[in-house]
Symmetry: C2
DNA sequence: CTAAGATTCAAACGAACGTTTAATTGACCA
DNA sequence: TGGTCAATTAAACGTTCGTTTGAATCTTAG
């Protein structure tokens, strides 16, 4: 009398109905409460499946979490790299501008955010949360999952900003990932800052459109130097250079 | 034969030795594993106190977490506002530059980072983690704790950037908080990006010195507009304006 | 010195957790 | 139609969690 209407037939093509329900529910609950605070009992109850189903289909709770991330992340990162390749090919032999590299980074995320069938805004929020989770298995999984994509984009930025030392570039990419994940993760966090129009929740799309110029300017910022203010900071810290 | 050497005398002045040991250990463990993943049993064992001591001295685990944050956060935010007041008074009647406002935001954090007796780098990392924690009581606590400080700085930035719409400013402050907390929280996160010199862990101080120019440039970024790239993004998303 | 209060202690509480088991159901092919 | 294997189910496993309890111990004031 429930959702047994789905006779998808073969069990060797794609995820089972049960697997899909678990993944969808896990995506929502992990996003809302985090990994530790989401119990398999509440998860399976919300999904309308048996408690043992998670362990049967995914092994452990940690493997379920990784499956939730992989399902969305792999296609998105592949899209990012394909788009970057296409843009680079079109611009050859010139190097890409930072603006276009950022575009290759953001557009697949925007596409995902606008597509409810692929998780929409919810998944991006989950991703942002995962980036800040201290659980070792999450950190390791993300670094493995992102390694090639990040390296590819870092190389592209390196060509676009040849004057920028490698180390400085690494840090600026780090700052970009920070602002991006924090922004994506922030369901209500922005209410801390913006007291006006507290119910006007911008979509992730508008949000990323505001974020891009901000990050672009940061990428092109001058190198830290011994300016007047820097000396004032040192003085305020009671130190000599 | 242990730490019983401290005869601080009165029990009405400052925290007990037991309370201090709990707070210090909690600061370290909450930073390393997060709130949920830190059990009171491991915490009290590491602190060398009885299991019941936390509930006796602080009430609940959540109240302990808030006490850990308050101990460092209150003085730091007070320092920030005092410094901002002093800088504004010195610049009057001119408005402060963004550079100096950022200085008032960063210098107290730098002072704290350089002072092991006040938590040093560890506490800043804990703070960054707390900002990304989905636990409702943490989010509410932080927003209450930061409300006045943020409002004060937002007003200062508003005077420094009179041309910037209020809403745009709110978002840029949001981005700043994101990059800041993500950066402070990242013990090993930067290894995702920087494959070179993986063991050369910059202190938070050097880190913030790299972050400040990046954020300053973002604050002064031009408003989002209908540039050529923007149209290309729309086209890539298959949409008309 | 002693009564009173603050603190520490070992022990136990009930609840919730992730995972496993063994039996049962369902679908498919020979 | 009967046999095979994947999927689901209810129940239980052992562990760990935050918190509470009541007695023991320490500190302090009268």
């Amino acid at each position: 009398m429930d959702a047994k209407v789905i006779p998808i037939g073969a069990n060797r093509s794609g995820p089972t109905a049960t697997q899909a329900r678990i993944l969808d529910t896990a995506e929502a609950l992990f996003m809302e409460h985090g990994f530790e605070a989401t119990s398999l009992r509440s998860l399976t109850a919300a999904a309308g499946v048996n408690l043992a189903a998670v362990n049967y289909h995914f092994g452990t709770k940690e493997e379920l979490f990784e499956a939730v991330l992989t399902r969305r992340l792999d296609p998105m990162n592949q899209e990012r790299i394909e788009l970057l390749d296409r843009l680079e090919h079109k611009a050859a032999p010139d190097a890409l501008t930072c603006e276009r590299i950022l575009m290759a980074l953001f557009v697949p995320a925007l596409r995902l955010a606008r597509d409810p069938a692929r998780g929409g805004n919810n998944f991006l929020r989950l991703l942002g949360r995962a980036y800040a989770d201290p659980a070792p298995f999450i950190r390791q999984f993300l670094s493995e999952q992102y390694a090639v994509t990040i390296a590819r984009f870092k190389a592209a930025f390196g060509r676009a900003l040849p004057h920028l030392p490698k180390k400085e570039l690494s840090w600026r990419l780090h700052f970009i990932m920070g602002a991006l994940s924090y922004t994506l993760a922030g369901t209500d966090a922005h209410k801390i800052i913006s007291e006006l129009s507290p119910r006007e929740t911008d979509s992730d799309e508008i949000l990323l459109r505001r974020l891009a110029p901000f990050l672009l300017a940061g990428l092109n910022a001058p190198l830290p130097e011994l300016s007047q203010v820097t000396r004032e900071v040192d003085s305020a810290l009671g130190r000599k250079r």
